[in-house]
């Protein structure tokens, strides 16, 4: 087994840029689009994913020497389904309104590609602490993505952004475009964001090559 002994800090940070779940790996698209009609929805979905991801990554990593290679996927699925049920029950009990909004996407975390991807690509090959950091990094990056997309869609779709009781701005500055809250709005927002990110990446790499040529 190939054990990577990298820095814990790197395992945490790489989830944000190099292995960003949404923008670099393009995994977990369904919840990314489905629940991002507002910032708060994105936030709670993200929190649920962080919990599930950390739980499953830690247990996959702990059990990696005992899991037979041939049946690892079913084992992963059971290790993922357990925290999902926990999240489902806790959310139903303490955040019933949010549970209704997120709907079937809470139980569907079990088939979220991010989680099985991290289990297969990282936790199955690495030590427990590294796997936990990897899970926290990827999970927080995912939450951040959801919140950014949610905020953009909420702002364009309703003219305001609400977090708890705080609403900004007080009155909509423009006629809101309700289409942003519908599925087409979600697809197009994410597509445009990815395109913008591509431009930024191209700029940065261009600058780097010119620097290395001159230096």
């Amino acid at each position: 087994m190939n054990e990577n002994k990298t820095f814990l800090g790197y395992d945490f940070v790489k989830g944000f840029i190099k292995e960003n779940p949404t923008f670099a790996l393009a995994v977990g698209m369904c919840p990314t689009l489905a629940v991002t009609t507002s910032l708060v929805n994105g936030f709670w979905m993200g929190v649920a994913v962080i919990f599930v991801l950390t739980f499953s990554n830690v247990f996959v990593s702990l059990l990696r020497k005992f899991i037979p290679d041939e049946i690892r996927i079913p084992v992963f699925i059971i290790l993922i389904a357990t925290p999902v049920v926990i999240v489902e029950l806790v959310m139903k009990a303490y955040l019933p309104a949010m549970y209704d909004i997120l709907g079937i996407f809470v139980p569907l975390i079990v088939v979220n590609c991010i989680i099985i991807h991290r289990a297969e690509a990282f936790a199955y090959r690495n030590r427990v602490l590294n796997s936990a950091m990897d899970a926290l990094g990827s999970g927080m990056a995912f939450t951040l993505n959801l919140m950014v997309i949610g905020a953009i869609r909420e702002f364009l779709g309703t003219g305001q952004i609400a977090f708890g009781s705080a609403v900004f701005p007080k009155a909509p500055l423009f006629e809101p475009a309700a289409v942003m809250l519908t599925p087409p709005g979600g697809f197009i927002t994410l597509g445009v964001l990815m395109a913008l990110l591509n431009i930024a990446v191209a700029r940065v790499s261009k600058r780097k090559t010119t620097q290395s040529q001159s230096g």
Partner: protein
């Protein structure tokens, strides 16, 4: 009439990809060519229809009488995972060419959230076994329709001059958005039929 309405609703109005955001990973991943899209569609229609039947039966005969509804997520995903395994073994023996082409995507049907999503929707809408199966089938046909149309569009990209910024996922998402805008037009339709 109700049956026809349900199929139309599943395929067009509540299309899994365009309206419910289900099964997007394989939708974006396996839609590069028409052959693969068609093969995947066949697998998904089979798995999703049978999985809907089996999960609805599981709900009605085991989970409900024993009051084990809180184990639904685990029970469903296990049933679906074993089913996919079955399809995989079957395909490997009978259709090796297709099996090679679908490669890693076949086991990924397990993580196709449309399959579990269909089963979950059947429960939340409390369809029985018969209607649940029908709903799963309609949803799968809708998903297949979406991926086949999309694969057709994507095949044409090869002949086009696409800006590097948009190449790949951004363009795929924007085109999906435009298609979903078109499907939004179905949402007022068949209103009388569904009542």
């Amino acid at each position: 009439m109700e049956i026809l309405g349900m199929i139309l609703a599943g395929v067009l109005i509540n299309n899994f990809v365009f309206m419910q955001y289900l099964g997007l990973c394989p939708f974006l991943g396996v839609s590069k060519g028409l052959d693969m899209a068609t093969g995947m569609s066949g697998a998904v229609i089979f798995v999703m229809t049978v999985a809907s039947t089996v999960t609805a039966a599981l709900e009605q005969f085991i989970l409900k009488p024993l009051e084990l509804e809180y184990l639904r997520t685990i029970a469903y995903i296990l049933v679906i995972a074993s089913f996919v395994q079955l399809v995989e073994i079957f395909m490997k023996k009978t259709l090796p060419g297709l099996y090679q082409a679908l490669g890693i995507y076949l086991p990924l049907i397990t993580t196709n959230c449309a399959v579990l999503g269909a089963a979950m929707l059947n429960v939340t809408k409390s369809y029985g076994i018969a209607l649940g199966t029908l709903n799963g089938f309609a949803g799968a046909v809708g998903w297949s329709l979406a991926i086949i149309i999309f694969a057709g569009i994507r095949e044409r990209w090869k002949l086009m001059d696409i800006p590097a910024t948009l190449d790949g996922f951004p363009l795929a998402l924007i085109s999906t958005g435009l298609m979903s805008l078109a499907f939004l037009g179905f949402s007022g339709l068949f209103g009388n039929l569904l009542k």
